[in-house]
Point group: C2
């Protein structure tokens, strides 16, 4: 393909008028120009940026139409490549799976589940939230997917540990209060005299008073921050029972729950596409072209050659200039190939991790009406780990809780059960927090065990160490490039899949531009 | 009015079939039954609850069509009262004021401002957020007003204190880290041996490690929680500059900012009506009946009598069985009345507090695109106090920041300036945090000084003490009842106005039911 195939007008539109990095990139790809530094960045272009679809300099076969595969196809398509995606499952998206009424969820060696949710109710069975710094939000912007807040931290949600249930705001106020008191008193008896100056001790005390809401004698005696039985209005309100002793608060072990959103990936606020996470799949699919995705196509062999790659499946083969393998590593490792023993060893290094979720649909949003919990997460030390309250459809008739979202051993435990037993167990656990209403008003449920999803077989992977196998697979084997969240430090996040895809296609594109 | 006027079917629908507290209340009002305990609660009925509008046992004149006045009229209307609202301003809503393109904002002794915002941009010049426990949300539910999250805490927003700007997540990680280190080390040198057991010390250390993200030697050495220059993806990311010393962190004085959302009224998550806070005014007005609100009607005299109340304005009078006075106390105090000297004294007790806001409309949402701030608040020790980023319209073309939201002295300072000078000053301050882009892309602005709004003249009031004047005014003076956020412990919140209105009309209704 030649640059001459581009009209003068096309070039003007692409480079002059719009001028985004994506446009420059695409134009250079089409024209065979040498790559610049800017190419490496894949700056997300604004909507309306120029695209060179169909003018590609090479053909690419992409294995897996999950988020990594779709992103690779999307970005390559913008740069003019001719892509074909092979997807073993019967639809694109991979773990980005949103279930709605009328859907059917099969599982390996077990019964299928019919999804019976009412109109407007959905269940993000895979990824459910996006941190604002993640590239996932750029794709939402670029693809025109409306977003809304995902409430990841709710002071009104509960913390359930050691058999006790308290509001998150109460647990936080109490442990902060006592920590502040202990440090303030240690300061006042001179324990820090050798460490910090008197002036800094004053500043520290000023902070601790605010932080713990301490009384004038630096005692923690409870605080309005803990919440109320009846909130202040005409009178000053009715307080909840006073805090336990320091010993009781420490023994309750609420620390993990309290600090759950401290990490850079979980910090408030987070976001979700309006109407379900699979809006990302739908829009990427639309942009890539649905006709480029061959579903129900399970790859059986990968052969890299001097002049291209050949990929076979039951009943066919495809030849392309390059391949992007965006399958889970543990499944990719089982496909016969000629990429070398080191590739197989490397692919076998990351360990699949079980993860599971249950969606519980209720006919009444009792968590809003009675508990005044609007979105957010209750943290527990039960095997359900978390309960998520919906961050959408506030005040509507029905609503869907995530009754467990767990991983590793807890997910294996639930995954081994029948869907009915999973629900029963989830309800038994949730009832410890919410009482009988957790069973009442339940309309339907669906549960997923990601290790029992065909062609995925795991929630995500864990690298024992981000060792040489990890960096080895970030480079191509022959004409085959690897992509997936598993090749990043953002494992289990869509942003990982997207960043990995960008990395792979950047390398691929540079190679194409540099080849004679 | 007689119970006989109700049909049997009406009773069945109202009490039997629906059976909510609102229905019971209304039916009892119509039938003249004695009140029960349940009456006092005004449980918000579900949409579709029975209503006795037009069957009222008494006429009520309500002074002020702010949120308190509207709520009083709405609840009285549901119970069958015949209400008339007198509003001095040219529209209902009071401080619940949302400004949009085409609006005009006058001010006392100063120029009017034309609002030039583009389509879809709005500015909540008064209340902007709702805590989930507040009755305001019940009214949103009952009136069918869709709500969405108001992001009140954003780890990506900034803290600007002592001339330094850091991300909230960084400020928090650093102060938590050092506090944890100090207490952990004090514990380890035995400073707490007399206070808590060894077992509890272990539990405390376990918490402190999580809380501060401490290293193995209990040192705080920074943390990924602080954020990154470049977030982890293909590699482990590029960290930001390491934390300052403990002295530097304490001297920065970020404590107020860090603890800003610890209170029960500010805790995450908070909410807002979709499309602007004045949806509450619009829906209440619609429910009350716009024809019941007489705008441009400034009350000049209030006379309570044995058989009713007479209220006069320039050009007219109205007589009713009862009156609910829902005006600001400092304005009410100036209206001639025969309610007694103690009422005047009490009304003069609360002190009006200045409050101001500026809405800055930009043609580019640079805070999302460049700073990755999606909603939330930057806390400062500047005279602007806060910068609010919009929690709606994410990724759209235009957007509106609240460039200051301040009160007391800072609000008086800005309020005394011309609108141009307020903007200039707000931009100068905001630039200290956001740099030149804070001036670029600015399209228009509108600022409000609530102490310069006619017939309101204050952001809210402050009681020197919630003393006998406060409780005195919670009871009627003759046939006049008082209502407003200023008569609650939820001052400056719409929930206060609503709760006060409920309290007043509950008393009024009980009196009506008990009168012969």
């Amino acid at each position: 393909m030649e640059g001459a195939a581009l009209t003068r007008r096309g070039l003007l539109v692409g480079i002059g008028a719009v001028g985004g990095a994506g446009a420059m990139y695409a134009a250079m790809g089409a024209l065979g120009l040498a790559p610049s530094q800017q190419d490496k960045e894949f700056v997300a272009p604004a909507p309306g940026d120029f695209s060179l679809r169909g003018k590609g300099a090479a053909t690419v076969v992409i294995l897996g139409a999950g988020v990594a595969g779709l992103t690779a196809a999307y970005e390559l398509g913008k740069a003019g490549y001719d892509c074909t995606l092979l997807e073993a499952r019967n639809k694109a998206g991979g773990r980005n799976l949103t279930l709605r009424g009328g859907d059917r969820l099969p599982q390996l060696n077990g019964p299928s589940q019919e999804v019976k949710f009412g109109e407007g109710v959905y269940f993000n069975a895979g990824p459910g939230r996006i941190a604002p710094w993640m590239v996932t939000l750029d794709y939402c912007r670029e693809l025109g997917i409306p977003i809304e807040t995902f409430v990841n931290n709710n002071a009104a949600a509960y913390v359930h540990t050691s058999g006790q249930t308290v509001r998150a705001r109460t647990a936080r106020a109490d442990i902060y209060g006592y920590v502040a008191e202990l440090l303030a008193k240690a300061t006042n008896v001179g324990a820090l005299d050798k460490t910090i100056t008197k002036d800094d001790q004053e500043r520290l005390l000023d902070f601790l008073r605010r932080f713990g809401d301490l009384g004038p004698k630096l005692d923690y005696e409870g605080s309005p921050r803990r919440g109320f039985m009846k909130y202040p209005a005409l009178d000053t309100g009715t307080p909840i029972a006073p805090p336990g002793t320091l010993h009781q608060i420490l023994a309750a072990g609420t620390g993990r729950a309290i600090t759950n959103d401290f990490g850079y990936d979980q910090a408030t606020p987070m976001f979700q596409p309006v109407g379900g996470m699979d809006a990302i799949v739908a829009k990427l699919t639309e942009a890539v072209g649905e006709d480029r995705i061959r579903t129900g196509t399970k790859v059986t062999k990968i052969t890299t050659m001097a002049d291209g790659v050949e990929v076979a499946w039951d009943g066919g083969t495809i030849k392309a200039d390059y391949c992007v393998a965006a399958l889970p590593p543990h499944l990719l490792a089982k496909i016969p190939h000629n990429l070398g023993a080191q590739v197989t060893t490397a692919l076998k290094t990351p360990i699949p991790v079980a993860a599971g979720k249950i969606g519980l649909e209720y006919g009444r949003r009792w968590w809003e009406l009675e508990d005044r919990i609007y979105g957010g997460v209750t943290e527990t030390d039960l095997d359900i780990t978390h309960i998520w309250y919906p961050s959408y459809g506030y005040h509507s008739e029905r609503g869907l809780l995530v009754g467990y979202y767990n991983s590793e051993r807890n997910a294996e435990l639930y995954g081994a059960l029948t869907p009915e037993d999973r629900r029963r167990r989830a309800l038994t656990q949730g009832k410890k927090i919410h009482g009988d209403k957790y069973r009442q008003h339940l309309l339907s449920s669906v549960s997923i065990a990601w290790d029992r999803q065909e062609h995925i077989q795991g929630g995500w992977v864990r690298w024992p160490d981000f060792d040489s196998s990890f960096t080895f697979l970030q480079r191509p084997a022959g004409r085959v490039y690897f992509a997936g969240d598993w090749l990043t430090h953002l494992i289990a996040w869509q942003a990982g899949a997207m960043e990995s895809a960008r990395g792979a296609v950047t390398q691929l594109h540079q190679r194409v531009l540099q080849s004679p």
